[in-house]
């Protein structure tokens, strides 16, 4: 698995410079936790990696073809079920039983076929996590994946992430200092 290298990445929105010469090499198959106060550019950095926005300057190399993500918002189709939302992004080789098993691991058994609009904020977050974990990808980007989860659920989700991201490059952002330790991730402060 290739390393993902970002060199001298800069990004401004109008007058405000959000990223200034960001350089880092994310080792293939590694886990990296990005921390920093709000407005420090975590989401901007993720959006650049995901190809949603373009950096003003800098070079990105080693970006894999297939990436999956949990965005800052859940970005789920509300009238559809958790299974339908996941099915829309996973290859046909991923069976429905595998999806149900992942959802059950995340504590969503019994809610798999309910419209997402009927789920609570924490449940939606876990559906977004399940979608990112089941999608075919070499790089997984998680922007505050534990938002809205209580401590017990957070631990449960962390254990699912650990078991389902083996061999993949994982980059995530969080505000909780316990998370990089629990996920044995390299800490990178912005």
């Amino acid at each position: 698995m290739k390393d993902l290298t970002l060199t001298n990445i800069s990004k401004s929105f109008g007058e405000k410079q959000v990223l200034c010469g960001f350089t880092h090499c994310f080792k293939g198959g590694s886990r990296t936790c990005i921390m920093g106060a709000s407005g420090k550019g975590k989401t901007t950095l993720f959006n650049i990696i995901l190809g949603i926005i373009k950096a003003d300057s800098g070079i990105i190399s080693g970006l894999p073809e297939r990436i999956s993500a949990v965005f800052q918002e859940d970005r789920l189709s509300e009238p559809f079920s958790a299974v339908a939302n996941i099915k829309a992004v996973v290859p046909k080789s991923v069976s429905e039983s595998e999806m149900l098993s992942c959802l059950a691991e995340l504590g969503l058994q019994g809610s798999e076929h309910l419209p997402v609009s009927e789920l609570s904020g924490g449940m939606r977050r876990r559906v977004a996590v399940a979608r990112a974990l089941l999608a075919e990808s070499e790089l997984i980007v998680l922007d505050e994946p534990f938002k809205g989860l209580d401590d017990a659920m957070r631990e449960q989700v962390i254990s699912v992430i650990l078991s389902r991201t083996k061999g993949k490059t994982l980059i995530f952002a969080t505000h909780d200092t316990r998370d990089p330790i629990a996920l044995s991730a390299e800490l990178l402060e912005l």
Partner: protein
């Protein structure tokens, strides 16, 4: 509803002239008489088929043009003057101009089409514009296939606009279609029946035909919107 009928009955009693205002009872009697008349259902079929044809053509063209305008800004700019013209020109003017070019037989289909087109176009385009850009970004990141994007992102966004647009368009299709027939009075149409009712001052006939138009219009609207909603629900469950 009952109170409105009572007011109507009372008003017709006060006016005291069946020529000026018939009572609801007289209208019901005339309606029963009309249904029993030879050629009644053929008249309904004549107008219904043409107005429905105009509506469905307008729905199809309006949707396709909205998709085009949603995809290409240039198409929206080029279509704008046509849509604003069709929306602004009075129905009567369009009917009179159209009668110079074509026979009265299919005038209601053309007029319904022209009335439905800009409404459907505007509503579907609004629906397309209301799509959550963040959902599209998500679809790009995950490499979601077009069919899935359509079902999970585009259709749910367009649904409320399509339903409300169709409701308005259906009502207008009937109003404008019958108005066009009234001006062109093609043989065997509801418009022709209305025209002769007015000409010979058959006020009961005028009211009875109006009730027929309302029943047809409301039934068609309810049925179509029901089927449209079912189709959207089915796409959400499939």
């Amino acid at each position: 509803m009952l109170s409105a009928l009572l007011v109507w009955q009372l008003a017709s009693y006060v006016v005291g002239s069946k020529l000026l205002l018939v009572s609801p009872f007289d209208v019901v009697v005339r309606l029963v008489g009309l249904v029993g008349e030879e050629g009644f259902f053929a008249t309904l079929g004549f107008s219904f088929s043409r107005i429905a044809l105009g509506f469905f053509s307008g729905l199809l063209c309006g949707t396709l043009l909205a998709l085009l305008a949603g995809r290409f800004k240039l198409a929206e700019i080029l279509l704008w003057p046509y849509m604003i013209t069709v929306k602004s020109v009075p129905v009567a003017s369009i009917v009179v101009i159209a009668l110079v070019w074509m026979s009265a037989k299919n005038i209601s289909a053309l007029i319904s089409f022209l009335m439905v087109l800009p409404i459907v176009y505007t509503n579907i385009l609004e629906g397309i514009r209301s799509v959550d850009r963040k959902m599209l970004e998500m679809a790009d990141v995950f490499g979601m296939r077009f069919s899935k994007r359509l079902r999970l992102i585009w259709l749910p966004a367009i649904k409320p606009f399509a339903v409300s647009g169709c409701r308005v368009a259906l009502g207008l299709a009937w109003k404008s279609g019958v108005a066009a027939e009234l001006i062109g009075y093609p043989k065997g149409s509801i418009g022709e029946s209305l025209y002769y009712s007015k000409l010979y001052l058959y006020t009961a006939d005028l009211f009875a035909w109006t009730v027929v138009i309302i029943i047809l219009s409301v039934t068609f609207e309810k049925l179509f919107v029901f089927l449209l909603k079912k189709a959207f629900e089915r796409s959400e469950k499939a």
